[in-house]
């Protein structure tokens, strides 16, 4: 068997790789601190945050406030912005020294990019895009739930002999911690040795929009093929509901919504209180993106659209006939509330 650098006997601690963008911690990293804390407590061990970048400001302190007992901080100009090779090299060095039992990363594009390479470098196991994490107390093993086959199958994955047990975790699954500024923890700078040879990839441009994060939206209005690209009423509705606009792959392909607003298997998985789906047929690769919604509303002209199986409230009608009336009632309510 291919062996990892060290085994279960020498492994200790839960580590979380913390992603950040322009001075702000990524939501998934906060979610991982919350979940990591629970896993560390179950194993009666410590939680370490891993921060790699440059000019990190108060991010390390934030990590402590959100549950980390210790934060390893590696700062170097070559670590900003993220590219694969320098980050892999630095985290590998940290792991070789610290020998964690578990290493979690967010299943973001950069997180999966790093995790995939790092796991092979460390010759260890990696569980991808987990939707559930738990500890098998008897065997002291991490159990990761993953979804496959287009969302139809859930499998539980173990990494029995290799360390660290690595996993990337789907954003939006776990809750975020309440920061406790009074919490104390160790912030430890980690020495970084990098040369230009360590960076075969150069970032020429990096553009991140002002952050539409559908995973945290409490209300979502989603459009599909049936909207025919006409979003004026949808935008009005979204404003009235304080909702984010999302859509299917069809809507994103057609350019009606940005790719970052695409909901589903290869888009974003959301967990709003209410999701209103207009003109969406309801194929499984979309519905996995709204499964966690508290209330799903579906409006479609096709009485046999699959979306109705996944909805709490169903309207078989033309969305453009229903929307004006809904908007009118909501506007009236808003005016009343505003007046009082």
């Amino acid at each position: 068997m291919t062996k990892s650098i060290y085994g279960p006997a020498d492994a200790n601690g839960v580590w979380v790789y913390l992603e950040h963008e322009q001075g702000r911690m990524e939501s998934v990293s906060l979610e991982l601190l919350q979940q990591g804390r629970a896993l560390a407590d179950a194993l009666q061990t410590t939680l370490t945050g891993v921060l790699t970048g440059y000019a990190l400001g108060d991010l390390p302190a934030q990590a402590v406030a959100c549950g980390a007992d210790r934060v390893l901080v590696a700062e170097h100009p070559m670590l900003q912005p993220y590219t694969t090779d320098p980050h892999t090299k630095v985290v590998e060095a940290m792991v070789r020294e610290g020998r964690p039992d578990i290493l979690l990363l967010g299943a973001t594009p950069d997180g999966r990019d790093l995790a995939g390479r790092l796991a092979v470098r460390l010759r260890t196991g990696l569980t991808a895009d987990c939707t559930g994490l738990a500890i098998d107390a008897e065997r002291r093993l991490l159990r990761g739930d993953v979804v496959g086959f287009g969302g139809g199958i859930v499998a539980t994955i173990l990494c029995p002999e290799h360390r660290p047990q690595m996993a990337t975790v789907r954003p939006g699954i776990f809750a975020q911690p309440e920061p406790n500024p009074g919490r104390s923890g160790e912030i430890r700078p980690f020495p970084v040795e990098l040369t230009p040879d360590d960076a075969p990839v150069r970032v020429l441009e990096r553009s991140v929009s002002d952050g539409v994060d559908l995973t945290r939206a409490p209300a979502i209005v989603a459009v599909g093929r049936g909207a025919h690209g006409d979003l004026a009423l949808i935008e009005q509705l979204a404003r009235l509901l304080d909702a984010e606009i999302g859509g299917t792959r069809v809507a994103a392909d057609a350019g009606w919504i940005g790719r970052d607003r695409q909901i589903g298997q290869t888009g974003v998985v959301t967990a709003p209180k209410v999701a209103l789906c207009f003109g969406i047929s309801g194929a499984i690769h979309f519905t996995v993106g709204i499964e966690k919604a508290e209330c799903v509303v579906a409006i479609n002209t096709d009485p046999e659209a699959a979306i109705f199986e996944h909805a709490d409230v169903c309207i078989v009608d033309d969305m453009f006939a229903v929307l004006p009336h809904l908007i009118e009632e909501l506007s009236r309510l808003r005016a009343e509330v505003g007046a009082s």
Binding site: M1, T2, S4, P81, T84, T88, R112, D113, A115, G116, A119, R123, G125, L126, A128, V147, G148, F149, G150, G152, I153, V154, T156, L158, E161, P200, V201, R202, L204, E205, R206, S207, V208, S209, G211, V212, D213, P218, D242, D260, T266, K273, I284, C295, E309, H310, A311, D312, V313, C314, I315, V316, D317, L323, P324, H325, L326, E328, E329, L333
Partner: protein, 268 residues
Amino acid sequence: MSGLHTIVCMKVVPMPEEVRVNQETMLLDRANARSIFNPPDMNALEMALRLKEQHGGTISVVSMGPPFFEKFLRLALCMGADHVYLLSDRAFGGADTLGTSRTLAAAVEKIGRFDLLMCGEESSDGATAQVPPGIAEWLEVPQVTYALELELDYFNRRMQATREIKGGHELLQVRLPAVVSVKMGVNEPRFLDWSLRPWGERGDLVTTWTAADLPVDAEEIGAAGSATIVDGVHQAASPERRRELLAGTPQEEAHALFERIRQYLGER
């Protein structure tokens, strides 16, 4: 003669809706599932074909799987690929992404020089997205995951890649050779060129390798070369929904809907 040498890793997967969990054995049952090419791999192949149209060169398709993969891989020849390498051996079976990426990397080592190695971002069955970065690590070359577009500067041995990141995208400059995983849906894969069908049947265009043919040890491949195991599968449960049908005129429907979503408003 020099020219752009591209390797495209492709996988044949079962149609997702036809895979079931056998309730007795609690194992995946793919026996009745029809097979297709993994959709993002088609996008990767299409991107490779466009680069070939631009820069010339050759495309080799590499795939790890049982013998029945061959008839699918020959379709890639009919789309414009030049050669197929099928890695087929029981010893490769049961591999997780560690073992799979090791095996594919070994085949690439044996094929020799390449400029680009392209894969779909993830496969529709396992959906880990881990094999492309894994191959890049084994081969010790740079990687670009979730690529949207590539522009080659072949003579300077580098390329510019547009890559998707959370909330946006970035433009990278990357030294070649490199591994690229391609975002699903970035292009429309061309259909088969029917005039190539007879050519696509030629025996010398498909090379099948077993474990003995590859520069790997038995403990690096298959289940032996894996670090993770599957400890149970079940059919995903969808939450039970109320499926309450509102009927009437559009105005009545809107009103009934309004009444039901009121509770989710407020708390501004």
